[in-house]
């Protein structure tokens, strides 16, 4: 066994490094391409570094690139996504917190069944609600607005956030709440004084999860928003698939990175919580 030990470990490391290259390659290619000139892209090799680093594609992607008929770059859509994501994350997280508190701490007859009923919202293919939702948003005058998208994301995100908070609060000892009730603390007092102060970690997990989900959403964006109100994912797709003029791959790549920056940033600063969110979202049901 010892004889093979070093060879074995070398192989393990080689395999892991190879995989790391596979995962990093697209990021490397995106970054380098975004700094190349079009001639450099055409003549050179995808894996080569830029002959001359230039940021022109970035400013074009941000301010001038065409996403369909409009040619104002990604900036407006970036702000659209911010305007959509922040309220949707905040509302769905807060709703999830109080819902999770009820289904874990204030169980009543049938509350488990209601919770299960809520969870179905995590599993349905959203295609099955798109047509009625489009009609309803039209009726409410919210079609093609950011407010409409916020509503949609809150409605379908709350099932997840409720699950997150429920799974967290279920681990809090019952005695804590029982003792508080004997002391005369009511529903809201217990929530604000006892549970909220210890909920920091789950808030972080939940916010990160919701932020990535909503920022990265494409389906709702493409169906319920158009033109000016589109989120950045839809704009990116339009930009890349605009067939007029010369194909500017460097601008495409810069735009893709711009669309990815917020979630990448979150991943870099709070990766631990990001993974925890993924795994917490994974043990649903």
């Amino acid at each position: 066994m010892f004889k093979n030990l070093t060879v074995g470990r070398a192989l393990v490391y080689a395999a892991l490094l190879l995989m790391a290259i596979y995962y990093l390659l697209p990021l490397y290619v995106m970054l380098t391409t975004s700094f190349k000139s079009l001639d450099d892209i055409r003549e050179g090799n995808m894996l080569a570094l830029p002959q001359l680093w230039q940021g022109g594609a970035w400013s074009k992607a941000w301010a001038e690139a065409c996403t369909g008929v409009e040619c104002n770059g990604m900036q407006g859509f970036f702000w659209n996504s911010i305007k959509m994501t922040l309220p949707a994350v905040a509302i769905s997280t807060l709703l999830g917190a109080v819902n999770g508190y009820v289904v874990s701490m204030w169980r009543f007859r049938g509350s488990d069944a209601l919770f299960t009923m809520l969870l179905v919202g995590c599993f349905i293919p959203f295609q099955v609600v798109l047509l009625p939702m489009a009609q309803l948003l039209g009726l409410l005058g919210l079609a093609n607005t950011t407010a409409g998208l916020v509503l949609v994301h809150v409605v379908y995100g709350t099932a997840f956030t409720t699950l997150f908070f429920r799974n967290f609060y279920i681990t809090v000892p019952d005695e804590l709440v029982k003792a508080a009730r004997i002391d005369g603390a009511g529903f809201w007092t217990i929530f604000f004084r006892i549970l909220l102060p210890i909920s920091g970690p789950i808030f972080v997990v939940c916010v990160i999860w919701q932020f990535t989900q909503i920022w990265n959403d494409f389906l709702f964006g493409v169906v319920f928003a158009s033109g000016e109100s589109q989120p950045i994912t839809v704009a990116l797709n339009n930009l890349v698939n605009t067939s007029t003029g010369v194909k500017e791959y460097n601008v495409d790549m810069a735009a893709a990175i711009i669309a990815a920056l917020p979630t990448l940033f979150v991943y870099m600063v709070a990766g631990r919580y990001f993974v925890r969110g993924l795994t917490a979202g994974a043990v649903k049901g």
Binding site: A15, L27, R42, M46, G121, G186, Y249
Partner: protein, 300 residues
């Protein structure tokens, strides 16, 4: 106590009703936006709705139209190919990486960060990146040709027979790191004493993994299968960004079929019928998996 008894009973009353009151908006939303909407779509699928919804019962005409539509069967077959390969490769790659990372690796944290970052990206970004890498004129094909292999072709992206496989490549890149994280968490949760006991018995490391550790990851397998099949059936953005369902309809999937018939082709009824088929597929896949998952979780 006696002085505040009326206040106390008010408290008690509030405590009895507040929880239900707090939960009720979400429940109402769920009733309308999930259950009501499913019923609504279901109803639409039994009408003759085309450009505008109509609400007269028309029987199974839309399902008949759907099943007679060749494009639907292409989409369904593609979902089978994509879903099957996507799940298989995510499982293999994820498990392999988890086992390798489990060998007390230096810089494990950095490697994990690298493996997992694609999960933070949207499928549209992933699709855009891979569309560029798989570009037959300037992407990986050119890299290999420049290395001197002048006959090398890698044109899957524009080859109708192969386009759906490029979706698998990009999908596995996006999701396998996440599978690795789940398996790694599972492996770390296994009691060390089991491994020690097996080592005392003279079992080699590969045998320990094959016979003891991997089998005990059974519940994790179910979770992973559950999530991956869910991602596969819903996949829309990745295909839209990577191939747009093309060339032609060759990499079409049900999610794209539904979107196009319902929203760009003015065929609400067919769109609704295809959405119902997607729902049925998800139920048919997820319910048995969840049942097995809860059973295996109880056993372990």
């Amino acid at each position: 106590m006696s002085g505040s008894s009326s206040q106390g009973s008010l408290h008690a009353l509030a405590d009895r009703w507040l929880p239900k009151l707090v939960l009720s908006p979400t429940l109402a939303a769920s009733l309308i936006f999930v259950y009501g909407f499913i019923a609504w779509t279901g109803w639409l699928s039994f009408t003759e709705s085309r450009l505008m919804p109509r609400y007269e019962w028309a029987g199974f005409v839309q399902y008949q139209a759907l099943f007679e539509n060749e494009r639907w069967w292409t989409a369904a077959a593609n979902l089978g190919i994509f879903g099957g390969l996507f799940i298989l490769f995510c499982l293999l790659v994820g498990l392999l990486m988890a086992v390798l990372l489990d060998q007390k690796i230096r810089a494990e944290g950095a490697l994990r960060t690298v493996y997992l970052y694609p999960m933070a990206l949207s499928f549209v970004v992933t699709g855009t990146a891979w569309k560029w890498m798989l570009n037959p004129d300037m992407g990986l094909q050119k890299v290999v040709v420049d290395l001197g292999f002048t006959d090398f072709t890698f044109d899957w992206l524009v080859n109708p027979d192969m386009a759906i496989y490029t979706v698998v490549i990009a999908g596995v890149w996006q999701s396998s790191g996440f599978v690795m994280a789940l398996f790694l968490a599972g492996l770390r949760g296994i009691d060390d004493s089991i491994i020690k006991a097996a080592q005392v018995d003279g079992a080699s490391l590969p045998t320990i993994y094959r016979r003891i550790l991997i089998p005990s990851l059974r519940p994790v397998f179910f979770s992973v299968l559950l999530i991956l099949s869910h991602i596969a059936i819903k996949s829309f953005d990745l295909v839209m960004a990577l191939t747009g369902g093309g060339p032609g309809n060759s990499s079409d999937v049900p999610a794209i079929f539904m979107y196009q018939f319902a929203f760009t082709r003015g065929q609400l009824g067919v769109g609704a019928a295809s959405a119902m088929m997607m729902l049925i597929t998800i139920v048919a896949v997820l319910v048995p998996l969840m049942y097995m998952e809860t059973r295996s979780a109880k056993r372990v």
